[in-house]
């Protein structure tokens, strides 16, 4: 067998083994990054909040997302509407990305693509369908 093709086969099999390992890890600590990315994929916008602003939203019934609660240290990640967030002054927009702004913020409000005007309190475990293709 030609060495160049054999090397590519070995690389493909190695990647498949890594993929299988990642799949087995999905519900454990190593799966946290996927869960965070999956959460952010649904968000059209993200805002770092002050603690009082986050407490205010929590008190209104906007629940913290389980993904943030499982982080160490725990992070308050909650879904809110753009309408509701519009009246909160103590916030600043951060990139919807696994970057420094997101990772260092202790309190983050996320806006779903379809909740930019609607009212919603769903979290990442919610199953209510939104915009469909």
């Amino acid at each position: 067998m030609r060495e160049s093709l054999e090397k590519r086969v070995r690389a493909a099999r190695s990647r498949a083994a890594i993929r299988a390992w990642e799949y087995r890890q999905r519900n454990h600590a190593k799966g946290m990054w996927h869960r965070l990315r999956r959460l952010l994929a649904d968000a059209s916008a993200a805002y770092a909040l002050t603690e009082p602003a986050a407490r205010e939203l929590l008190a209104e019934g906007y629940p913290p997302d389980p993904v943030g609660e499982r982080m160490e240290p725990p992070k308050i990640l909650l879904w809110a509407t753009a309408e509701r967030l519009g009246s909160i002054i103590e916030k600043h927009p951060i990139p919807v990305r696994l970057g420094a702004d997101f990772l260092t913020a202790r309190y983050v409000a996320l806006v779903r693509f379809d909740d930019e005007t609607a009212t919603s309190t769903r979290n990442s475990d919610g199953a209510t369908p939104q915009t469909t293709l």
Binding site: R2, H34, L40, A41, V96, L98, T131
Partner: protein, 261 residues
């Protein structure tokens, strides 16, 4: 689906700083001339252009605005290898690499490299990879290409170019291995395909997705999430304007249920 995602209103995939117009025109010319040189092979039943050049070819008038690679992949059904080899002497302007005969190198700079890969629709495992030994045209056979089906050929400038159906190719791209430049490019190619997907394509994606084992379904959703958060790159499709569409596909796939029984 929003009509704005359809091909006729999509003049270019690339956002931000696009390659210069002359570079796009030049690349398109080289791509089409290469496929013209490969027509004897492309005429063989089942042979398909696959990989990152497909979005370029299915753009209106094969505009080729997406410059993600400098070669073109031809998928050869392993059952047709002998017939394809019989056509190779008719190919002018390219020759096999000495080190790797599955790669054909242009004799002059007006063509691009051609990479022959193997496709076997009878393979059950999309993760399988093996070499089909052959002295003249050895092929690396990728199981993921078993998800690809022939689509409507692209007809441009007198050429008939066999391309796959969009759904299978998109799923194949979303099964890419994350990380690295190659993985990122594959995901951006998947985005370019998603932008062009119509409802019937999405329904076919559902069918393909639900037939996969859970591990591969997870890989697809994981890669869609990665794609959603990728930053734009010059001359490449920008995920930013299409994030809502990516999120909708994620939700759609996560909601797909296997048929009972």
């Amino acid at each position: 689906m929003s009509p704005s995602f359809l091909a006729p209103s999509t003049p270019s995939f690339a956002a931000g700083v696009s390659p210069p117009y002359t570079a796009i025109v030049e690349f398109r010319r080289r791509l089409l001339r290469t496929l013209e040189a490969m027509q004897p092979v492309l005429e063989e039943a089942g042979v398909l252009v696959v990989g990152s050049e497909v979005p370029n070819l299915i753009e209106p008038n094969a505009a080729a605005t997406l410059v993600v690679s400098q070669d073109v992949d031809l998928a050869i059904p392993v059952q047709r290898l002998a017939a394809v080899k019989a056509r190779l002497p008719e190919v002018q302007g390219l020759h096999p690499s000495v080190e790797e005969p599955s790669v054909w190198i242009p004799d002059a700079s007006d063509l691009i490299e051609v990479n022959f890969i193997g496709m076997d629709s009878t393979l059950k495992d999309p993760l399988e990879a093996h070499v089909l030994e052959d002295d003249e045209l050895p092929l690396l056979v990728f199981g993921a290409l078993s998800l690809v089906r022939p689509g409507t050929p692209v007809r441009v400038e007198g050429l008939t170019i066999p391309v796959p159906r969009l759904a299978g190719l998109l799923v194949e791209k979303l099964l890419t291995d994350r990380g690295g430049e190659k993985g990122d490019r594959d995901l951006l190619v998947a985005l370019a395909l998603l932008v062009l997907a119509r409802e019937e394509d999405l329904a076919e994606i559902d069918e393909t997705y639900v037939a996969l084992v859970p591990e591969l379904r997870h890989t697809i959703c994981s890669n869609l999430a990665i794609l959603s958060l990728m930053e734009s790159r010059p001359g490449m499709p920008d995920p930013g304007p299409h994030r809502a569409r990516i999120a909708a596909l994620l939700r759609r796939l996560e909601g797909v249920k296997e048929a009972p029984g």
